[in-house]
Symmetry: C2
Subunit: 428 residues, 2 copies
Amino acid sequence: MSRHALATPGDDIGAYMEQLGDAARQASAAMRRIDTGRKNAALLAMARQIEAERPALIDANARDLERGRASGLDDALLDRLALTQGRIDAMVEGLKQVAALPDPVGEIDGLHSRPSGIQVGQMRVPLGVIGIIYESRPNVTVEAASLCLKSGNACILRGGSEARESNAAIAACIARGLAEAGLPEAAVQVVATTDREAVGYLISMPEYVDVIIPRGGKSLIERISREAKVPVIKHLDGVCHVYVDASADLGKALAIAVNAKTHRYGTCNTMETLLIDAPVAAGLLPKLAAAYAEHDVELRGCERTREVLPGVTAASEDDWYAEYLAPVLAVRIVNGVDEAIAHIERYGSHHTDAIVTESYTLSRRFLAEVDSSSVMVNASTRFADGFEYGLGAEIGISTNKLHARGPVGLEGLTTRKYVVLGDGHVRD
Amino acid sequence: MSRHALATPGDDIGAYMEQLGDAARQASAAMRRIDTGRKNAALLAMARQIEAERPALIDANARDLERGRASGLDDALLDRLALTQGRIDAMVEGLKQVAALPDPVGEIDGLHSRPSGIQVGQMRVPLGVIGIIYESRPNVTVEAASLCLKSGNACILRGGSEARESNAAIAACIARGLAEAGLPEAAVQVVATTDREAVGYLISMPEYVDVIIPRGGKSLIERISREAKVPVIKHLDGVCHVYVDASADLGKALAIAVNAKTHRYGTCNTMETLLIDAPVAAGLLPKLAAAYAEHDVELRGCERTREVLPGVTAASEDDWYAEYLAPVLAVRIVNGVDEAIAHIERYGSHHTDAIVTESYTLSRRFLAEVDSSSVMVNASTRFADGFEYGLGAEIGISTNKLHARGPVGLEGLTTRKYVVLGDGHVRD
């Protein structure tokens, strides 16, 4: 394809996606030659472009919103779709923050000399080409582009069709920012067709795309994971637990159990099931129930919980698996840490789980034995977040075990290759 | 299933594989509670069992060899299948070496305090359950079992049907070693059916198996990668390059080019294409040709190579893609590092590539811009190996970009989860 213009979609969606893929692959090779300063310059130029194009972005978004309302999108979806002045501020600020982050690319770890005389280490390098598939929020276009760019990757972004005019307007700002800094224009490409076939092609081109990151509802992510021919960094559900052991400081337990449930309901790191050690259940549950009642949190309890709190609804087997994302909490009384760990292993989603305990031994056991992307002692599950962990940015929270696990920042968008430095060394 | 006996295969292969999977999942949870000393004790007990069962292993292997000869296996395959005394020595020695390696599990990196007051770090943990699919070499059974065990994983091993008696005899030694150290017997399970359906089930059980590692020919690995429903750590081909720049020390270039090709022909890190910068081609090629002639290496050259070495066969387009694994070498004259890197990007397999140069700037460019699992300066590609890199062991060389890339040792069989330490902290 021409190096002077990005591909435009025609009738043949497969051919169009292949053009995007080929251009992205070439851009990713070029990106390996571009230093940190130029990547930062591009990010800051994008921020200026978005600032300058505020009215155009609001206009494009208004057209998306109008079309959305006409086609009957619900209020929650329309809210996610809306580009307010505040959200544009956040996009500009986000670009500046990513520019200010340290560049992970080129870092060499563990360089050491071997008996053969060679030196061996591992260098952090971009993954290559990243495909990102997301739904209605147009600000993801900027977030994803900035993180992929800073980590030295080329990316192909496929947003929701409901946000197409907003995304096109943002894409134009990104393109001008890239051009201003002299970066390859195909470093960030926004898929310019709303044809659903495009996603099918994007996830099936291992020769052009190294990894897919879907952002959206569980059904989107499951479908993409099932059908993709390239690796997927995915976030499935967050069925997070807090286990209050009999050894807990009950003041800490109360604060954590309330915060983990009520700080926000719709987030993946919100506690969905509370496990309480039998000896402290009768003392703690009434206080917890009072605190949850203030927040209008509905409790669903096991039989033993209902003996302490008779008014509570009975939890069904499904409740232990549920990611409510709502002011609902399942509560179970267990006999000690072993039963708690077994419950988490059986019903949990390996996302984020916490113990409240003053016991040194139990804290060590819980940390070692609970197989989740974040395991916590005496802290609210709500801390499982790239910003809270100090990653500086977050493209998502991975529930994969391989590669990136938990909050994914710039480092999760890179990989490490071995570097070997010799002086004419050969193998005996 | 019973916790007192490993599953045995019946008519329903799917049910059998599910029993193995379920037992492995339970064993992997138990393995998280087992400390380094007990894992090492199990490895050393296995070594003693194999030492004690030498005659039984040789007998079982003799039956495999006899059946193999009767069914017309070729000599190369029979050689790989054979358990000689030397190979049994190596198995015993390998177990002792793995016992002596540091245990990666539990290592915590980067624990630091955040402004919120929590401490955050990353703990290295086992992947969980690893499925390993391999072909004729029965010693892989011990290698794979030892590395999975030391890294705290449960594993399900599926060897080639031609080695079934040898593998069963080795499995019995492993089982006794596990029992002696009090480890769960399902920590290492050897699939006890040669039914090909078993592989299909093994690679399609994400609820029980976290990762598949196939070891064998490219066609096996491609098929498994295509069909697997779980992540695959795979090794595809090694089309490795040495590029000799005009800035090279020609003595080093000669030594490296000869070693990278002739040290061993059948290995994935053997050079398959030599790229020579035009200004030094006329001086270097005749010396190289003489050296290769001594080793009976057949050269296939580009047009410009054939101008310098008229006797050389013309290389076809296919030669640039070829992994010969034989005393054959493709030779191409290029104009400088950019053409060399472009050739490697286009025809290479992203395995191992080396530059020979005295230029500081070119060495840095080659290291940054060549997107391979190992990139080398002034060293033979033959160094790309877990033992040469100091990993202490190697389960394979990964050509994946995500997770483990290049030689995979114990660390590649682990992952990292976040650990958060608080003191009753909640999120504002």
